[in-house]
């Protein structure tokens, strides 16, 4: 991961905290499982657990036990919920905005990242954002989820949606587009470089 554009929220709150808060506070309607949060934010389980415990004790998050699973959701009754959500909406970076938009589909997404000129840090003021989504989600749900971000980002967001197996099959077939996507800089939204390396090792049957 090179040229990670740091956002104001990341600088103010730290990368784990801003990612956790953006995922949860910008989607107050959904409760997220810890493992899902770990995958979405890329945070280590240890620091994530500490973060979640502290944010719950401070009243920002609600902890829910569903069966044996622990879920977290935003606590809209917290006195600073509105202000903090507003602050996040205004200060989170490109990656946070896109990640938050994909969060409702996260259980169907293995990896998601920005590629192309924006990820490489050589974008012009009107460059489109290219987002790769690997998982078992369909094209239309991803496009619909990402559509509202175009206004906030003031750019068109183009999605490419593939099953991880198809992505690797294309790669092994020598597809130039997939090869360049793998080679070029990425801005990770869900998952990380290790997940991609692991996928690359799974030879197609």
């Amino acid at each position: 991961m090179t040229t990670l554009p740091i956002s104001l929220a990341t600088h103010l709150l730290g990368s784990t905290r801003s990612a956790v808060l953006a995922s949860v506070l910008l989607h107050p309607e959904s409760a997220l499982h810890v493992r899902e949060l770990a995958r979405i934010t890329g945070a280590s389980p240890g620091s994530l657990h500490r973060e979640l415990r502290a944010l719950t004790e401070l009243g920002l998050l609600l902890r829910e036990e569903i069966g044996r699973q622990v879920h977290y959701r935003a606590n809209p009754a917290c006195p600073i919920f509105e202000e903090l959500a507003g602050l996040l909406r205004k200060t989170v970076g490109i990656a946070d905005v896109l990640r938050a938009a994909l969060t409702p589909l996260a259980d169907q997404i293995a990896m998601a990242f920005v590629y192309g000129s924006v990820a490489a840090g050589r974008e012009g003021p009107r460059s489109d954002m290219d987002v790769m989504v690997l998982g078992r989600v369909g094209f239309a749900p991803v496009v619909k989820a990402l559509a509202p971000t175009q206004e906030a980002l003031r750019r068109e967001v183009n999605a490419t949606v593939m099953k991880p197996g198809d992505f690797m099959r294309k790669r092994h077939a020598g597809d130039g587009f997939v090869a360049s996507v793998i080679r070029e800089p990425k801005l990770w939204l869900i998952g990380n470089e290790d997940d991609l390396a692991e996928l690359a090792q799974d030879r197609p049957a």
Binding site: D128, G138, F139, A140, V143, K144, A147, E156, N158, A159, T160, V161, M162, K163, D166, K170, D175, G176, F177, V178
Partner: protein, 150 residues
Amino acid sequence: MTLQNLLKIGRLKPHAPTPQEIQRLLLVAERNLVDARIESISDETRFDVAYKAIMQLALVAMMASGYRPSTNEPGHHQTMIQSLPLTLGLPNETWVVLDALRRKRNASDYQGDSIEFEALTECLAQATALLTATRQWLEDRHPNLLRATP
């Protein structure tokens, strides 16, 4: 934005539709949709043909409504897709997906990006749904355009 506004800003021109052209376009769109289901050709070509069917169906709806696009203006594909909620009354959600397919087609045609299976599947589904919606709309609103002519 209304069709009248699109006419005022020069994106559309007035048009008097004939049953012949409407029926011809419908047949071509149907044939394209059949071709797009041929699995032995590349995903890129299948996508292209399904996308073409979407454009032809949007044109049918636009012509039947009394307009045609100014093809000398850039971005007339965008205008065609933009017109669908105004002609057929398509929901905004569908428009969002169709517009994403238009951008996908641009990236494929002009940058050589490959078309993924998910995008092809969606393009086929949208074209199929649009054919049904267009036929139904013509029967409801412009049945004279579907009648056989000598």
